[in-house]
């Protein structure tokens, strides 16, 4: 049985509460994120995804309910919420806009410096983080302005990885990147998990990316969690996903069309490899 790293218990969050602009972002949400998993959060725009991830490191404070890290309420000692943020690293959308130091090296070192680490350890962390995201060492002394968009994105992620968070949370880490840049980022996240055993939580709109890189999925719709499970469990419910305004991976859509046309293929197939295997089996038996 796997252990829960993060749990949400009956969490509600309302923006501008008590004003005419009141918006309920999360409504009595409970969830469990397994230690060491790569968990994806999916949902249409405005479903509460970004609020969900901002609660995980205490950037937002739920008005109702609790967020537990290793079974402990992260707000138990409100003055020590800063320590939680070292343990749960959050990479926001378009994090490259937040690079602010003169060199990439200084920017990546910002987090570890705030943790009060000594110089030697900081330097070690910077190199470790740069290696994880595949940023060449000669780039470290350049200004953020001299880097390409994809490199800047990787530098920003390295700045969070350098804190060695037990939980790494990323809001749309590959948005706007081309296929090569996207694959490089997701591969580095998988490597980070595999080598450190950390829990990785990813928010994305791309069902194809989620299908390829996540093990578990949480589906949000209108401020509520409507499904939680493995990729194949979730993508088996293609009709429901369309109903709540989400796409399914192209391959899942194709398999569904085939079963509508009378070819009996398994539910919940979401990768090209599985589809080739399943269809080869079906076609050979003709």
């Amino acid at each position: 049985m796997s252990v829960a790293k993060i749990e949400l218990e009956n969490v509600s969050y309302v923006y501008s509460k008590g004003t005419p602009y009141e918006v309920t972002a999360l409504d009595n949400v409970s969830a469990c994120i397994k230690e060491g998993s790569i968990t994806g959060i999916i949902g249409h725009t405005g479903s509460g995804k970004s609020t969900f991830v901002q609660l995980l490191n205490g950037l937002e404070h739920a008005q109702e309910g609790r967020v537990l890290l290793d079974g402990k309420d992260i707000w138990e000692k409100p003055k020590e919420i800063g320590k939680i943020r070292f343990r749960v690293g959050l990479v926001m959308q378009y994090p490259e806009y937040q690079l602010f130091e003169e060199t990439i090296r200084q920017d990546i070192a910002f987090g570890p410096k705030n943790m009060g680490l000594d110089k030697e350890e900081i330097e070690k962390r910077v190199l470790m983080a740069a290696d994880f995201v595949g940023l060449e060492r000669e780039l470290l002394d350049k200004s953020p302005f001299d880097l390409s968009g994809g490199q800047k994105r990787r530098a920003a992620i390295a700045g969070v990885i350098a804190m060695k968070p037990e939980v790494l949370v990323l809001d749309e880490p590959a948005a706007g990147l081309d296929p090569l840049g996207r694959d490089a980022i997701f591969t580095s996240l998988v490597n980070y998990r595999n080598e450190t055993g950390a829990t990785v939580i990813i928010v994305s709109h791309s069902m194809e990316d989620m299908a390829r890189f996540c093990e578990e999925l949480i589906v949000l719709s209108h401020a509520k969690i409507v499904m939680q499970g493995t990729c194949s469990e979730i993508f088996a419910k293609a009709d429901f996903l369309s109903e709540i305004g989400l796409d399914v991976p192209q391959i899942t859509g194709c398999m569904k069309l085939l079963s509508q046309k009378g070819l009996s293929v398994g539910d919940g197939i979401y990768t090209v490899e599985d589809a080739v295997r399943e269809l080869s089996r079906r076609l050979s038996s003709l």
Binding site: T45, G176, P179, H205, Q250, L257, L258, S280
Partner: protein, 289 residues
């Protein structure tokens, strides 16, 4: 093609490093875009597609080669301010970041910015603003503040601002890259309307396959060269070339590729789930017959 709106002939571009070295970015690129055509340029980051966009918008000047808009060479000599002005009126450009393209504090004022600068009479400006907002489906937001809109809505306002100039051609440089799926769909639908109903020549520069699939023709760029050119069906039928260019292969094309490798001779186009399912069913029927 005799009625070409954009002609690019043997275009080369290199930029100079600080130490004086010339770094070539585009190598001898030639292509034509017909009047009223919808063409997508596909390429990964660093393939030269952004440089090409900047050349087409005359932000950069080619090292050698010609760019003709509507038969007029725009790269030959430096254009006068007036010529540049006329050209930018004819060819509108939409960029990646919606936040960088809006100038006013009210949506309809933003859309009116271009026509106002043309010195048009008040009623004409009013007419153009209303019509442009209607085309992009944003009429009800005319009095909203742009910064409160979603990315896709902002991008459609940016598009409306260009349509109000009555352009003949529009170039979209990664215009959907920062949008969520619903914003992307809205913008793509708007682009299709502009092309199919208003007859505007469209060139989109992108790395999204499903976006390129909507075009009449795709030009694949890799390493500053044209790697392949054809209809979406022709281009997506060549997964090996797409991979070489650092691009995604549509999942359904990869599925059929895998099945063919496993010895099942499935024929026909198969880049969308519908086409793919049809192709597989056709294969089954032929086998059974």
């Amino acid at each position: 093609m005799s009625d070409a709106f954009i002609q690019v002939e043997n275009l080369n571009y290199s930029y100079a490093e600080e130490d004086g070295r010339e770094i070539p970015v585009l190598h001898d690129i030639s292509f034509e875009i017909g009047r009223g055509e919808y063409v997508a340029i596909l390429g990964h980051n660093g393939s030269g597609k952004s440089t090409l966009a900047k050349l087409l918008n005359l932000i950069l000047t080619p090292t050698s080669g010609r760019i003709l808009f509507d038969g007029k060479d725009v790269a030959e000599k430096e254009l006068t301010e007036d010529e540049l002005y006329q050209l930018r009126r004819k060819v509108g450009m939409v960029f990646q970041n919606p936040d960088n393209q809006l100038v006013a504090t009210i949506v309809e004022e933003d859309v009116a910015f271009g026509p106002e600068n043309l010195g048009l009479p008040q009623q004409e400006i009013r007419r153009r603003v209303d019509e442009s907002l209607a085309i992009v489906g944003m009429t009800e937001y005319a009095h909203h503040e742009p910064h409160r809109l979603s990315g896709g809505q902002k991008q459609r306002i940016a598009i409306a601002g260009i349509i109000a100039m009555l352009p003949e051609c529009m170039i979209f440089d990664e215009s959907t890259a920062m949008l969520d799926p619903s914003g992307r769909k809205d913008v793509l639908r708007t682009i299709e309307t502009l092309n199919r109903e208003k007859g505007i020549t469209v060139l989109t520069i992108t790395h999204y396959m499903n976006e390129a699939a909507k075009a009449d023709r795709i030009i694949v760029l890799d390493d500053g060269r044209i790697l392949m050119e054809g209809t979406p069906a022709e281009v997506f039928a060549r997964p090996e070339i797409l991979r070489k260019a650092g691009l995604d292969v549509p999942q359904c094309s990869a599925l059929v590729e895998g099945l063919r490798e496993a010895g099942f001779a499935i024929s026909g186009d198969c880049y969308s789930p519908e086409l793919c399912a049809e192709a597989i069913c056709r294969y089954i029927q032929e086998k059974r017959a």
